[in-house]
């Protein structure tokens, strides 16, 4: 006879070794504005309030806004903006967009990009975060990225990786921004995986001096989202 219980109670929390594995994703909810965006977060070359929504909470609670000064950045400074739409064509006012990109020379500010022959920019990290406005509009100021290597010997066209979060989005959605008219687009190995009739949804277009990239979560003009 054993004194051990036949069916020990399961350890129903994430310290259970039997449950070990990737933590599930959850929505950021509608109330992330005082916790996630920070001053300078959507301005990758400066320190403006762009992308934050300080009008959504009392000023004394704007505590995450201390982005240090940025140095001069090489390359062409661009504005990147667009509206996030839902299935009914309504703007999404409580979404958050993140971008990750190489610098103008095509190098990522990451220890995993060890191509030391390509210069790093002291003041440019290449990560940004913006909340959408009441009208569903997000806006970044950044530099136009250079091309980066692709699988094998291929070369990727200049692009910006994009993550979309928001109320109603249990999981981050991932897409990419390419630049309409860039000669490298024709040979881009990732664009080649996208059905030709949907590639247009990945192209930013120059409108009134800004690069415009709308994100359509669902519907006829649905943006291409990637499984990364």
């Amino acid at each position: 006879m054993t004194t051990e219980p036949a069916n020990p109670a399961p350890r129903l929390d994430n310290q259970d070794p039997g449950l070990f594995g990737q933590t599930p994703s959850q929505t950021v909810g509608p109330f992330f504005h005082y916790g996630l965006p920070w001053k300078g977060g959507a301005d990758l070359v400066g320190q403006s309030d762009m992308g934050a929504r300080p009008e959504l909470f009392p000023e004394e609670h704007y505590v995450l806004n201390l982005s240090p000064p940025k140095g001069a950045v090489a390359g062409q400074v661009i504005t990147l903006e667009g509206v996030v739409y839902d299935a009914d064509g309504k703007p999404v006012p409580d979404a958050m967009i993140e971008i990750w990109q190489a610098n103008a020379a095509g190098r990522y500010a990451s220890p995993d990009d060890d191509r030391t022959q390509i210069p790093l920019d002291e003041g440019f990290i290449g990560f940004g975060r913006a909340s959408t406005s009441e009208d569903g509009l997000y806006r970044f100021r950044t530099v136009r990225p250079g091309p980066v290597p692709g699988p094998g010997d291929s070369r990727q066209a200049p692009h910006i990786a994009v993550g979309v979060f928001g109320r109603g989005l249990i999981k981050r959605l991932v897409t990419r921004i390419y630049f309409e008219g860039a000669p490298e687009n024709a040979a881009d190995p990732i664009l080649a995986l996208v059905p030709a009739e949907r590639r247009e949804t990945l192209m930013a277009r120059e409108v009134d001096g800004a690069w415009r990239f709308d994100i359509v979560l669902q519907g006829a003009a649905e943006t291409v989202f990637f499984d990364v």
């Binding site: 129903l12 990737q22 929505t27 916790g35 909470f57 220890p111 990009d113 990786a161 989005l169 499984d227």
Partner: protein, 237 residues
């Protein structure tokens, strides 16, 4: 040319984008299949280790940001950030935001009729150490009603955001509390099926609890890991 080591794909524990019981997903989730792409430098790199240049300093004690102590049960949340191979993820930023002890956010769009606490912002940020460990101090958030369906209440939860080492490892999640009866009827938590849902439930821990001061909870976050292990000498075969 860099050696590109891809990250593993999402495992079975990840929720779908469309989970109709969470009503807001219905018009906001894509209907076209995701296009699977190989991992390139874009996905395997990320803003690792430069968080201080990005955002500024750490704010690991959410109870000392104002003139007085916030209302509610003070708690210490501690844990590790690991990859799915069990390796620690050091020097990564975890961002934190939450409702106050009465279940109300300071956000102006939060119209729930519970008291605001002038001494509680409910936002902070902590960095993992060389062993992937983190710890922050806050108050236990309250449950609150939301308009998803009749008699809908969100369980007590703390929102957590981690950048991890790469674009591919980025995650936003929520930490729940053990023995909360609202978890099993919450459409957001339940988008993740059992048993994986339990990966979002913390454990009360008497070792983390400090006498006469605060209750302690343990919560580990597991990020995606590399698909293959780099060898010590890539030419050794």
């Amino acid at each position: 040319m860099s050696l590109i080591l891809p990250y593993s794909r999402e495992d079975a524990g990840q929720p779908p984008s469309l989970h109709a019981p969470y009503a807001s997903t219905v018009a906001r989730s894509p209907r076209q299949p995701l296009v699977r792409i190989p991992h390139t430098l874009t996905e395997t790199t990320g803003p690792a280790g430069c968080w201080e240049n990005l955002m500024g300093s750490s704010l690991a004690d959410l109870t000392t940001q104002h003139k007085a102590m916030p209302q509610g049960q003070r708690i210490i949340v501690s844990g590790r950030v690991l990859d799915e191979n069990g390796r620690p993820v050091p020097n990564t930023v975890m961002e934190i935001w939450q409702a106050n002890a009465a279940g109300r956010y300071i956000h102006k769009k939060d119209q729930w009729d519970a008291p605001l606490d002038p001494n509680f912002t409910g936002a902070g940020r902590v960095i993992t150490d060389t062993e992937g460990r983190y710890q922050y101090v806050t108050v236990r958030p309250g449950a609150y009603p939301w308009g998803n369906h009749h008699n809908a209440w969100r369980p007590s939860h703390i929102h957590l955001s981690l950048l991890g080492p790469a674009f591919a490892t980025r995650i936003v999640t929520q930490m729940y509390f053990p023995d909360d009866p609202l978890i099993e009827i919450d459409p957001i938590a339940n988008a993740t099926p059992l048993p994986y849902r339990q990966r979002m439930v913390s454990r009360f821990d008497i070792q983390t609890t400090r006498p006469n001061w605060a209750l302690g909870y343990l919560f580990d976050i597991v990020l995606r890991g590399r698909e293959q292990t780099p060898t010590e000498d890539p030419h050794d075969h």
